[in-house]
């Protein structure tokens, strides 16, 4: 309860005073939910029905648009690609960032501050501007047109944020934790993965969620690095698809619905962690 909710005014006038505020909030809720509602009902309509029946429920819940989107645009393959890239980048980012953050936040070594600064500066670096050199580098390494290449680039981009979050969470753990383990003869690798990492689970989920969202949604790097249809990710496929079938609205709406389904489900399950993560961890995107 916030302090302001306490008031001495009588109940009815208190409710009335709240009316304008409520209205504003409800209007924006509608502005968010209506487009999504239209998106979902339009998936089941033919283009003609989309014109005739704008807001109503579809006459029949035909799945034609979904089947066409899945098969004609080969969204299934794009889905698998996006899953591989997102999963790979999340795991790689978490492992290497936790490893780097551990000594930087818990050992008392002279160069820790400099190393942390080097990593943290990456949070602001506009990597898109380096995409020409990155393209040449990827070509020389044979990483163009490959999911491995995307995983490496995304991890590199997300490492600064992940090191920042891990270091912040690890710094405040009591030093007795690792000292006691060291007395018992545990190695540093074991201390990190069996003692420290389980203690910073909230950091792991913040890093995992925000890396997954950023990587799943990214469009820029697949656009430059992927040419072969077999390796296209969902956002890239969608951008092509929207241009190709621009007059078949039912089909385009269905492809949009399919591509946002995993994020929608994840969001419904993790809304609370995401809200708190943004509140504590700061920005994403």
């Amino acid at each position: 309860m916030s302090a302001l909710a306490i008031s001495q005014r009588p109940a009815i006038s208190r409710q009335l005073a709240r009316l304008p505020g409520w209205t504003v909030l409800v209007v924006w809720t509608a502005a968010v939910l209506l487009p999504l509602y239209i998106l979902i009902v339009s998936c089941f309509k033919t283009t003609a029905e989309i014109y005739d029946n704008r807001l109503g429920l579809p006459q029949s819940f035909a799945l034609d648009n979904f089947i066409n989107a899945w098969t004609r645009a080969d969204l299934g393959q794009n889905f698998i690609n996006s899953l591989i890239v997102t999963g790979g980048a999340v795991i790689l980012t978490i492992v290497v960032s936790a490893m780097a953050a551990y000594p930087l936040s818990r050992y008392k070594l002279g160069w820790n501050a400099i190393m942390l600064g080097l990593f943290l500066s990456g949070i602001m670096l506009p990597i898109r501007l380096a995409s020409v050199e990155l393209f040449t580098l990827m070509r020389n390494l044979g990483l163009l047109d490959s999911l491995t290449g995307l995983i490496l680039v995304y991890s590199a981009i997300r490492i600064p944020f992940a090191v920042f979050i891990f270091a912040n969470f690890m710094r405040v753990l009591p030093s007795e934790l690792d000292e006691a383990a060291r007395m018992d003869g545990a190695g540093e690798v074991r201390i990190l993965f069996q003692i420290i990492l389980p203690m910073v689970k909230p950091a792991v989920s913040i890093v995992a969620i925000f890396t997954a969202i950023a990587v799943w949604n990214d469009f820029f790097f697949p656009l430059i690095f992927i040419f072969d249809d077999r390796y296209k990710t969902v956002p890239l496929a969608i951008s092509v698809f929207v241009g190709q079938f621009r007059t078949d609205w039912g089909l385009v709406f269905a492809s949009l619905a399919i591509s946002m389904a995993p994020i929608l489900i994840m969001y419904c399950l993790l809304a609370r962690q995401i809200r708190e993560g943004v509140g504590t961890g700061g920005g994403m995107k």
Partner: protein, 310 residues
């Protein structure tokens, strides 16, 4: 003596482990972020043939960038990004503050509204752009609704009109990210002690007075975070423009941004299709890098100084 030896041997182990543990992250980060970025800045001083550096050219790429014909594109894009930034500050971060304040006042239902407002932010800007392109298209549902309400007549061409297209993209972007300021401001408001508001209330301050005279000065760190983030995001704007208006920033470059212009120079489609101008692209990249880093540092400094300590 033995403790001393143990400490120094622990120190050596730690030094060795620190190097081993930091190396993988550092290697990936240095190879795919620091190295290409450094090379891009360096490369902006060279003449390029295709993807090959030919000879040192001093500032000639930069002087080409600022004069006709590229100058017109550069200043156009710069203006669009600037307008975009102020539009987002006003319509996203400003209205977001109002929403956060309203949610803070009532408290009940806050989690629900925050979740709904934030939902578009987890969607790909490509999906958001494609969705709004369909909704705003001639014959789309927005046209139908406006015609039905008598607010507009005939075909809705806001995305095809060079006077309105940019404003529409800014609005879609604000719709996409509105949940971010709401969450960050709410987190900031929760950190302010309730006693301060209680005291102000006893002194007879109304809600508006409390928002502007008490909450806002104490929200400087949140405002700083949002301003800096919005600045970085605005000057990196690409996806929404690409999906809604094409890589040329249609109609007639009226929604062109610095990154869409950079993309055309670097990967083709500026001038004759498929022709690239790497030297010019890297010079633009360097200018954009300077704008972003100087701007960000100035903003961080500005908001750091204005942070009120209690």
């Amino acid at each position: 003596m033995s403790t001393l030896r143990r400490t120094s041997s622990l120190r050596r182990t730690q030094q060795r482990m620190a190097v081993l543990f930091t190396l993988p992250a550092l290697a990936v980060y240095a190879l795919f972020v620091l190295y290409p970025l450094g090379m891009s800045l360096w490369g902006s001083f060279f003449v390029w043939k295709g993807l090959r550096m030919v000879e040192f050219a001093g500032l000639s790429n930069f002087s080409r960038l600022f004069v006709f014909p590229s100058g017109a594109r550069l200043y156009g894009a710069l203006w669009h990004n600037t307008a975009w930034f102020f539009g987002i500050m006003l319509f996203q971060n400003g209205i977001g503050l109002l929403f956060a304040w309203l949610l803070f006042l009532r408290d009940r239902g806050a989690a629900f509204f925050q979740s709904v407002f934030f939902f578009p932010a987890v969607l790909s800007p490509v999906i958001v752009g494609a969705l709004w392109r369909l909704l705003l298209a001639p014959g789309g549902v927005v046209e139908w609704a406006l015609n039905g309400l008598g607010l507009h007549q005939g075909s809705l061409t806001v995305l095809g009109n060079s006077h309105t297209a940019l404003a529409m993209l800014i609005a879609v972007d604000a719709w996409n990210w509105m949940g971010l300021p709401v969450l960050i401001y709410t987190a900031g408001l929760r950190q302010i002690s309730g006693q301060i508001f209680e005291a102000a209330k006893l002194d007879g301050a109304g809600n508006a007075r409390m928002l502007f005279s008490i909450a806002l000065p104490l929200l400087m760190p949140a405002l700083g975070t949002l301003t800096t983030l919005s600045f970085i995001n605005t000057f990196n704007q690409f996806d929404i423009v690409y999906v809604m208006q094409g890589v040329q920033g249609n109609p007639s470059y009226s929604t062109d941004t610095l990154v869409t212009y950079f993309y055309r120079l670097a990967f083709g489609a500026e001038g004759a299709v498929g022709i690239t101008d790497i030297g010019l692209a890297l010079a633009l990249g360097t200018v954009l890098f300077l704008i972003l880093s100087i701007g960000t540092l100035m903003m961080l400094r500005f908001f750091d100084r204005r942070t009120v300590q209690l």
